[in-house]
Symmetry: C2
Subunit: 207 residues, 2 copies
DNA sequence: TCTATTTTTGACCAAATAGTTAAACATATT
DNA sequence: AATATGTTTAACTATTTGGTCAAAAATAGA
């Protein structure tokens, strides 16, 4: 029945997310996913035909989760300084909710960059040219009005992303070396960082 | 003979570096390393006893490569602003020479954070407490002298690292989406970034 | 040159792993 | 109740994989 089918299908997908995102494509065993979902291994192949197919599904869902905020950053028409505040706040919040995903995406795309080609193909949002034109316009407006100093769009965008993503992705190293491997201490650090990042970026581009 | 032994041992290590750093521990096959080294698979086990041991060796060497610059950043006694310039320059240069290593380290530590414990144990440099005391002192000095605004050491340090490392680690995503998958374009972008990052950081902490 | 030691190899093994199949089970339809 | 359809399982297969071993080849020492 549809009710039950969706349940099992969803249970599999949830289990697959958990294992794939933590151990990566090559580090994941189908048996572990089956165990975590509480079902037989053959059922995995009944719903998703192969490991690769299941993996793609998980990857696409994970990737899509981080698209909307980027899209807002690029296309919404808040003034630039306001936009930075909003983006940093909501992106760091999202990252705290899904800390494994960025590392997962980065790692898997490094292993096989082709995955992105397929995704871009499916996603009209990021397929279009002139992706950054709108944001660039807003930045230029800010410059003309003397609100910020001249700054190249992509450099700025990447810097903001870097400041948000890096502490989550490199957590084991940073927590291990600079925080004496204390998870609670690192958690407090992350919570406090939102404001630091916002001020850091805005100061950096202040005229 | 020692001459030949070192040669084979080194050939294996070089091949192992290449494969492990690109495909990760779980994605690597011993056979592939043997092929790349041009030797029999059994020889791998003759020189390094197991996949795990060979992997550890590769990981430790890769990790150690990125220690000295961090050490300089923490312990040398240049004034803070000068130090930032020097660190960003030399770190980005190092990253361009070894673009696969940071992603490799981040990924493997995510898979198994225990690795870092062993490494810290072996490395007196990063084992010591009060790692950041010296840098903190220099920052406080800069603040007192009115050269920079008040800023928390770890936040600043992590921001600098983030700005250097992220564009290399997340290259497939960023190049794919913001640079139309053009490697040369991205290469030019990276080359030009050194100066942008230095100015960005120094502006961010300007009083 | 003869012998001992080290290096290298091909053949092999046991365990793990993605995927298959045929049958059992459950559910809906009539 | 009988049948058809969809779901789940246990058992199995073929292949891959890390690792071993005994013998061959190369090298060193006498």
């Amino acid at each position: 029945m549809t009710e039950k089918e969706l349940n099992t299908e969803q249970k599999i997908l949830d289990a697959a997310k958990e294992v794939f995102q933590k151990k990566g494509m090559t580090g994941t065993r189908m048996q572990e996913i089956a165990d975590k979902a509480g079902i037989n291994k053959a059922l995995l192949h009944y719903y998703y035909r192969s490991k690769e197919k299941l993996f793609r599904r998980v990857f696409e869902i994970a990737f899509a989760l981080f698209i909307p905020r980027i899209k807002e950053m690029l296309f919404s028409d808040k003034p630039i300084l306001e936009k930075i505040d909003y983006f940093v706040d909501s992106y760091i919040e999202l990252l705290q909710k899904h800390p494994y995903i960025p590392g997962f995406i980065i790692n898997e795309l490094n292993r096989n960059p082709e995955i992105l080609v397929d995704i871009v193909e499916k996603n009209i949002l990021i397929k279009q040219d002139h992706l950054i034109d709108n944001l660039e316009g807003q930045i230029n407006q800010g410059i003309e009005r003397g609100q910020i100093k001249p700054v190249e769009v992509r450099n700025l965008l990447i810097n903001i992303l870097a400041l948000c993503v890096f502490p989550v992705v490199a957590r084991p190293v940073v927590q291990g070396i600079l925080f004496d491997n204390d998870p609670e201490g690192y958690e407090r650090f992350l919570a406090q960082r939102k404001d630091f990042v916002k001020e850091f970026v805005k100061n950096a581009i202040k005229p």
